[in-house]
């Protein structure tokens, strides 16, 4: 295993090669129970507490199909513009691994529930790129291995391994794209935009937690390069362990530059699984697939075929929510946003939050200004998603209302919001506890203005001479004296009144 790679300059890669991508995304459904048994499907339980004879692969135990998972699979298929199979089956994918209780994975193989679809993804410049979907199929997740000892955290070199079967049997949908060609230099961006679009779609469908950090959305990126004059695809690698949207982009870019350097130096690409390293941004060799592994697939005899009626499929089509791109279009029209404004809103993941804030009484401009700038920064610095901040759209709307009523300055409002984020309670409680009311008593302000003017007689003289812009220095002094609790606009009015 090598960790040092020759990399080719990206511009040169694009000059000499066409990248070809294939993306496989695994989505854990957030059904109440597992795919084939009644165990709870909850992330993060004590190891081996969410298990039963079926998901432990006990002798004699049998699977029964989770109808809700089939429903989710069909809804995902419909949202991806797929055809829904009239008849399909599960198969067994046979291979040995300690965290796989039966040593076969019950998975759909050549008869997926959904196939032949597409997803139009929005790139950073607002243009659309159509990603064709090969299929979306149902399968079960494996358990988790924790390899203890050794330096890599992988099974080789470990002193011992611990097995947790809580995840074994969790319902998964695997969504596989057709080969993605014609992206040119935008290949890494397309990959990231596709996974982003898929995440937003799955969130809107409310079928998964879609948390890449918790593994409920996982992306394997297949990357190969074709020399400009080539007529056949190059050998591909499959990069796993890509746990964030940014990593998807980085992993694709890295593989392109690595493969290009290797090919340019006369080397060949090994068809293999590679692991992405978040800290270095590079990939390293995993299992080599010199000969394709023989999984000995055959139809799962313990489950009967699935034949979703057309009526049911149409009924489920009726349950599809407004899809993210439809929603974006509507929001853009309703609020008359420019493409750039819409992009900022979407990139911040703030569409729903802003809309909810508007519903609670704010204008979209006010709401956007909070969510897209200030709160996005707060979320980033706290390392959480915007939607995970401990503040609600209704609370933001109330803060905006207080600013409009002159009871809070913008600066005070930010302090109130910080208080809410810190868990100090409702905005009103924070104002009370921190003493953040605007000083609106003119007599108190007039005294502060007089003191400030007296302290800076030269500035006061300029204002009296009509240089109103000089008032800023006095405003600043007053604000400082009132610890920011004065309404700057009112202070300015008072200064000008005093000097005229």
């Amino acid at each position: 295993m090598t960790s040092v790679h020759e990399l080719m300059d990206y511009a040169e890669v694009i000059e000499r090669f066409d990248p070809v991508l294939g993306l496989e995304v695994h989505v854990e459904l957030h059904t109440n129970t597992k795919m084939f048994c009644g165990c709870a499907n909850v992330f993060g339980g004590e190891p081996n507490t969410q298990v039963c004879p079926t998901c432990l692969g006990m002798p004699g135990a049998l699977p029964t199909l989770n109808g809700k998972a089939v429903e989710s699979a069909i809804r995902i298929g419909l949202a991806l513009n797929c055809e829904i199979a009239e008849w399909c089956r599960f198969a067994r994918k046979n291979y040995f691994y300690p965290d796989m209780p039966k040593n076969f994975q019950t998975s759909q193989y050549d008869e997926p529930i959904a196939f032949n679809g597409y997803l139009d993804v929005t790139l950073d410049d607002g243009s659309l790129f159509r990603v064709e979907i090969e299929r979306a199929h149902m399968e079960e997740d494996t358990g988790k291995s924790l390899h203890v000892g050794g330096s890599t955290g992988r099974i080789h070199g470990a002193e011992h391994s611990l097995l947790d079967y809580n995840r074994a049997g969790v319902p998964l949908i695997e969504i596989v794209t057709k080969t993605i060609e014609g992206t040119g230099e935008r290949a890494p961006e397309v990959a990231r935009a596709y996974v982003t679009a898929l995440r937003d779609l799955l969130k809107a469908l409310d079928v998964s937690d879609v948390r890449m950090d918790q593994g409920s959305l996982r992306c394997d990126a297949n990357v190969s390069l074709m020399a400009k004059d080539a007529t056949e695809f190059g050998t591909r690698t499959e990069t796993k362990n890509v746990n964030s949207l940014r990593s998807v982009e980085r992993a694709v870019r890295f593989e392109m530059t690595r493969q290009a350097a290797l090919l340019a130096s006369g080397g060949t690409i090994t068809q293999e699984t590679r692991h992405f390293d978040e800290s270095t941004g590079g990939t390293s060799s995993g299992r080599t697939k010199e000969t394709a592994e023989d999984y000995r697939y055959f139809p799962e005899p313990d489950l009967v075929p699935i034949a979703p009626s057309r009526e049911w499929v149409e009924e489920l089509r009726g349950t599809l929510p407004e899809l993210p791109w439809e929603r974006r279009k509507r929001v853009q029209d309703e609020w008359s946003l420019t493409d750039a404004e819409l992009r900022d809103l979407v990139n911040a993941g703030a569409v729903d939050l802003v809309a909810a804030t508007v519903d609670a009484g704010a204008t979209h401009t006010e709401a956007r200004s909070w969510w897209v700038s200030y709160l996005t920064k707060e979320a980033n610095s706290r390392g959480v998603e915007l939607s995970e901040l401990a503040i609600t759209p209704a609370q933001i709307a109330r803060v905006i209302g207080l600013v409009n009523a002159g009871e809070l300055t913008n600066k005070l409002a930010r302090e109130v919001v910080t208080g809410v984020l810190e868990g100090e309670g409702e905005p009103e409680a924070v104002i009370e506890a921190r003493g953040l009311k605007v000083v609106s008593d003119d007599s108190a302000l007039e005294k502060a203005v007089d003191e400030a003017l007296a302290a800076q007689p030269d500035v006061a003289a300029k204002i009296r001479d009509g240089k109103v812009a000089a008032a800023g220095a006095i405003v600043g002094a007053v604000m400082k004296a009132t610890k920011g609790q004065a309404d700057a606009k009112r202070v300015r009015e008072l200064i000008i009144a005093r000097c005229s």
Binding site: G60, F96, N103
Partner: protein, 504 residues
């Protein structure tokens, strides 16, 4: 010998319900019998004395309290060791699961318990139900009570021998290619493979999922029917379980016992005759067919040409599924673990455990199945076998368009001597020649004694096959034939079992 042990299940149930005898007395009589003769027979891998007496006491208490009990409450049963029993060891006849105590009951086990049937223990079997003689058990062979030097059939030799040795009036078997019917035939007992999906497979340690079917074993047709109705029925824990009413097999058995089969059309399968069939077996079969005619049945010959390919198709499909089903025995979660000395990897421990835990026949089938499913061979082997399976189903459909039931000998020969075929797998596999088609098509089939072969004095089985979910048809024919046969022979066939050494 306590005369209770020679009673039928129906008789015992009536005596217990009327409180003429207690369930505890009945259980104790059978436990005593097991203690006396099982050293010679080796039908049981585990005897649950305490559990049996406790269950019997519960039935007695319920009856004393005037509670309503099921039709087989208090009747003892022997359970094939392939069905899980909570808190009671389940080995599947394999070293691999030595000492494994399941944390859950199979649905069949649960239904028996709920019906007040008293589980005496777990019976011996070919390892993972792979075999036709019970010689593949990791715990020594079971011996045939008719001749202790002969095989009791397999894989459910323990369940059949326990009936013939009067250790239990009822038992449960499982039938993947004949493992209920062939042991029934060679021990002079009744064995039924219900329609696939008729009895839940939940908790039945899988050999071949698309073929495995648990069913009732008994010494009389009515007893089998009574047991059939206790264990059958839809189970949401088994996706392949049929959500339909249980065929009325008890009513059919009672109706058949009146001895009238007029209007019933019986088809004799022409493929199951000729070379490889013991003459005494064929003579017994012909006599049985003649008797069916006398009872008023219309008998015709029926050709099912695809049945000739059933055996090879079976030996691709069953091992293929087995190779996958048995992959879970990897030393990680249950069963034995070999070589875990903290220097070896999980992969090495898996490998060493499977090497040590599986016997030669199981390994042979895992290898055949792994090969048959391999890329490049799948279509030629597994794929072709599935096509044959379809053709066999069509042969059955065509046959049942003209006849109500099909009949044949259950197995080509009577019980062969222990050791005779252990070195020749093909000869062993041929014991299931006549029984396999019903597994491949999923329809109902049973075996009941047609008397003794005139050349060796050993039991011969008559196989009756019926369409899926028409299990009652074969019970009716079997019950009628049973009455006529006993009248002709002067006594039930089972009465001819010799006294066992060691028995008092």
């Amino acid at each position: 010998m306590n005369p209770l042990i020679r009673s039928t299940a129906a008789e015992l149930a009536a005596k217990i319900a009327s409180r003429e005898v207690s369930a505890v007395e009945v259980a104790q009589a059978h436990l005593d019998r097991i203690g006396e003769v099982d050293g010679a027979v080796n039908a049981f891998l585990h005897v649950d004395t305490e559990g049996a007496l406790k269950a019997a006491r519960k039935v007695d208490d319920d009856l004393a309290a005037g509670a309503h009990v099921g039709p087989l409450a208090g009747v003892p049963i022997a359970l094939k060791d392939v069905l899980t029993t909570e808190g009671v060891p389940t080995t599947v006849g394999s070293k691999m699961l030595e000492g494994w105590v399941p944390p859950y009951d199979a649905t069949v086990t649960r239904r028996l318990k709920e019906a007040g049937v008293v589980i005496l223990g777990k019976t011996n079997m070919d390892e993972f139900a792979m075999g036709s003689s019970t010689e593949n058990s990791a715990y020594g062979p079971t011996r045939n009570p008719w001749d202790l030097d002969r095989i009791p059939g397999g894989s459910g030799g323990g369940s059949a021998a326990a009936l013939a040795a009067f250790q239990a009036p009822l038992s449960i078997g499982t039938d993947t290619g004949g493992s209920i019917r062939q042991p029934g035939a060679v021990t002079g007992t009744v064995g039924v493979k219900p329609t696939y999906g008729g009895v839940s497979r939940y908790g039945l340690v899988a050999f071949s999922s698309s073929l495995d079917q648990a069913g009732p074993c008994a010494r009389t047709v009515l007893d089998a029917a009574l047991l059939h109705e206790v264990i059958a029925g839809y189970d949401p824990m088994d996706s392949t379980s049929i959500n339909a009413p249980v065929p009325p097999v008890v009513a059919a058995a009672r109706e058949g016992a009146s001895g009238d089969l007029s209007g019933v059309r019986v088809g004799v399968v022409t493929q199951f005759s000729g070379e490889g069939y013991q003459p005494g077996v064929l003579r017994s079969f012909e006599a049985a067919v003649a008797q069916l005619k006398q009872l008023g049945a219309e008998v015709v010959e029926v050709s099912c040409p695809s049945f000739d390919y059933a055996l090879p198709a079976y030996y691709l499909i069953a091992p293929s599924e087995a190779s996958s089903n048995l992959a879970r025995f990897d030393a990680m979660r249950y069963g034995i673990r070999v070589g875990d000395d903290s220097t070896r990897s999980a992969e090495e421990v898996m490998s060493l455990t499977r090497e040590a835990g599986f016997g030669p026949e199981v390994k042979r089938r895992i290898m055949i199945g792994t090969y048959a499913l391999s890329s490049g061979y799948y279509d030629a082997y597994y794929g072709s076998a599935q096509k044959v399976r379809t053709l066999i189903s069509r042969d059955f459909e065509a046959a049942f368009a003209t006849v109500d039931v099909l009949v044949s000998p259950t197995t080509p020969t009577t019980a062969f001597p222990l050791g005779e075929r252990t070195g020749d797998p093909m000869a062993m596999y041929k014991a299931d020649l006549c029984t396999i088609p019903a597994n491949l098509a999923g329809n109902a089939a049973m075996s009941l004694p047609s008397g003794l072969s005139d050349e060796d004095g050993l039991p011969v089985g008559l196989q009756i096959m019926a369409p899926a979910l028409q299990d009652h048809r074969m019970y009716r024919v079997a019950a009628a034939y049973e009455v006529a046969r006993d009248a002709a022979l002067g006594a039930p066939v089972i009465q001819g079992v010799p006294q066992l050494a060691g028995a008092r």
